[in-house]
């Protein structure tokens, strides 16, 4: 057992830092120079770090992944939608035809196409297999007609495509009649849903006789649940965000020192300071759990219960960070306007806190995660 970074690892870390220092846009340029940044990443071969080498991934070791995650967590990165990169891409790679791979993967990779995830429905949340959105294949087997609704669809309002779980059979078990379809958004109605604090990120989708060519089906009809389950594990792995939350704690400490408490600052308050310390301790333990999990995965294993543990605790810690941030913001955290009041960090804190209540619900709610862990670790029903 050895934790030291080898010379090649240290060299890699230098290379990563240099690259980020040189090329990563900051401030407003993060939006204006976003495409340029993706091109530079692509040229370096680092645009899809978690993809297999045969699809353009760099073939990094667990330690290199850890180094990359740590270095990028420490900076503000132009956001990349996870739906294409993290969630759909592995499914295409594993279950898609060569044609589908050639057609869809490049634009996922280039971030030129936005995807959304058509999974949950009003009656199919934790019990996802209960989904009812119907897909009926026509007589000559060339086209599906889709009718139904999807809900909580993140960023559907800017998406061009939707990967969708549909019901194609009702005769067997719930899981046995599900088909995985890729649906263009052109004919799909999108209705915004406003979440706590007035944010718009999620939507409800309505499919009214939407036509989908059979070429857009992944794998076999009625085999979609298997593909989806694999995808859920990847989704889970991507959500924990331990490194990012650790960076957030660092920022919290910096911000808390700008909060005046009489002649001192909030970081001088032992009670508050210890709460921050406790959160950081938990995150440092989770960081190492992630590393152990990465090392195990390097042995070629599918993400196991570690991914559920990380999702369970990781989402909770994101919420904890947001909670401590609004606590630090004090009376200024309630500001819901574009006016300035109090320290600059206070305004964004409440938005994160409110949006963050969903972190323990999406990607499999915490209660379900515990059932998953019990099943895989304890062999309990």
């Amino acid at each position: 057992m050895d934790i030291s970074l080898t010379e090649p690892d240290l060299e890699f870390r230098r290379e990563v830092r240099e690259f980020l220092d040189q090329h990563l846009p900051t401030g407003a340029e993060m939006w204006t120079k976003r495409d340029e940044w993706f091109e530079k990443l692509r040229a370096k071969g680092w645009d899809v770090p978690k993809w297999p080498e045969e699809f353009g991934g760099p073939g990094w070791s667990p330690t290199q992944h850890y180094i990359w995650d740590k270095e990028t967590a420490d900076r503000t990165m132009p956001p990349v939608s996870p739906f294409g990169h993290v969630m759909l891409a592995p499914i295409l790679m594993k279950y898609g035809t060569q044609e589908q791979i050639d057609r869809f993967l490049p634009s996922i990779r280039n971030n030129t196409v936005n995807w959304c995830q058509g999974y949950s429905e009003p009656d199919a949340g934790s019990d996802l297999a209960n989904l009812q959105c119907k897909a009926v294949l026509n007589e000559d087997g060339t086209e599906y007609t889709v009718n139904g609704t999807k809900i909580w669809t993140t960023m559907a309002h800017i998406a061009q495509w939707c990967f969708c779980l549909t019901r194609t059979d009702n005769t067997g078990s719930k899981q046995e009649g599900i088909t995985f379809l890729l649906i263009p958004m052109d004919d799909v109605e999108v209705k915004p849903i406003f979440t706590l604090g007035g944010s718009h990120h999620v939507n409800q989708l309505f499919f009214d006789n939407v036509k989908v060519p059979v070429e857009n089906r992944i794998g076999e009809e009625n085999a979609g649940w298997t593909y989806a389950k694999g995808l859920l594990k990847h989704e889970r792995s991507g959500i924990a965000g331990i490194s990012k939350t650790l960076t957030g704690i660092k920022k919290l400490k910096a911000n808390a020192q700008t909060v005046r408490v009489g002649d001192s600052t909030l970081m001088g308050d032992l009670g508050f300071r210890n709460k921050v310390a406790e959160a950081e301790i938990e995150l440092r333990a989770l960081e190492f759990t992630e590393l152990r999990s990465l090392a195990a995965a390097a042995g070629g294993n599918e993400p196991g219960p570690e991914s559920s543990i990380l999702k369970l605790k990781g989402s909770f810690m994101q919420q904890r960070l947001a909670e401590l941030t609004i606590e630090a913001g004090g009376i200024y955290s309630s500001n819901n306007s574009s006016e300035k009041a109090g320290p600059a960090f206070a305004k964004g804190g409440m938005a994160s806190y409110l949006a963050g209540r969903a972190a323990t619900v999406y990607g499999g709610c915490s209660e379900v995660q515990k059932d998953v862990i019990a099943k895989s670790v304890f062999n309990l029903k």
Binding site: M1, D2, I3, S4, L5, D9, P62, T63, Y66, T76, P79, T154, M155, S199, H201, I239, G248, K251, A254, N255, Q257, T258, M267, L270, A277, E278, E280, I281, E282, R284, A285, L286, F288, T289, L291, R292, A295, I309, K313, Q318, T325, P343, A344, F345, K347, G348, A351, S352, A355, G356, A358, Y362, G363, K370, D371, I373, A374, V377, F378, L380
Partner: protein, 396 residues
Amino acid sequence: MDFQLSEVQEMLRNSVQKFVSDNYELPSRIEQQKKGMGYSEEHWKTFAQLGWLGLPFAEEYGGMGGDAVDLMVMMEEFGKGLVLEPFYPTVVLAGTAINAGASSAQKERLIPGIVAGEIKATVGYAEEQSRYNLADVATSARENGDSYIINGAKSMVANGETANYYIISARTAGDRTDDEGISLFLVSADAEGVNGTHMKTVDGLRASELTFDNVEVSKDDLIGDLNGGLEILKKVATNAILALSAEAVGAMEVLYKDTIDYTAQRIQFDHPLAEFQTVKHRMVEMFTETEITRSMLYRATMEVVDGHEDAEIDVHALKFLVGKNGRFVGQNAVQLHGGMGQTEELRVGHYFIRLTVMDSLFGDTNHHLNHYSAKMPLPEANDEAVQRPFRTAANL
């Protein structure tokens, strides 16, 4: 970065595991802890024969040349059996002090005897007024020609009654709580002026209140530099915390596994308790907290071995988590065993008690949280704090 145990470590783990499963069924433990010094001399001889008593010592003195990771492997397995033999005070506590501060002559004098199972030792550091502050030392050592005269007392010294030697901290200069001016001395248990009150502790182990009344020791009994004892004591504390934490993780694993086994076969309301979701979820929480503690155990141990800059704070983090999560796992294991969990008959209660006691050794959760909090890195205050809200997948 590598998480695999070496072949030697695997062998070590297997042999300790075998010893525990052969010898540490609960009834044997309960019986043994009442007799004599509270452990088996036969087992101690076995430890010597297997070379375990030489684990951290240099090969030139008959040791194995092992490090904190090797100790971690052993202590976790000991923890699964709640082993009674005084390995921790002799090999971990005294062993660290000897390795860190003893002269070659002292090492010659002590290590071969320890390795052979003939010498037992322990460290006396705590005093009534000191709480968990190692630098708070009222016990004094006054220079007297070629010797020192020691006066004072040490509290809850692990296995004080069976030890042949005590290594104790005494003040040779400065005020009571000064970092400078503490020295470590080797004191023979049968030296004149040494007295002890010997206790059973609720976890089946033994501890002593020791008093030193004009105890004379020679200059050859000074361990390390005069007034340089605190540095050595800090190393003792570090290794002690790593060892106790490994023992704790072993105990926590036994607790959640026993709980799964028990609730899977205990039928009430026509169902095994394990099928009820709140029970299931509680056990999942016990599992995850154990695994998280284990992660920090690996992290801190490896950082200490590596001399990493975060080693100090992560040792605090580790002891904090062991205390907090150990309590959680222990209390919930007892809870989920219902009435049976309240008895001495099942091993659950005994592991719960040991975890409870361990929180009081070398600093509790409160102590270590305060220390972590004081020592954690603080970035610069930031007036131009980041405007963007923290991003989650939902608001990308």
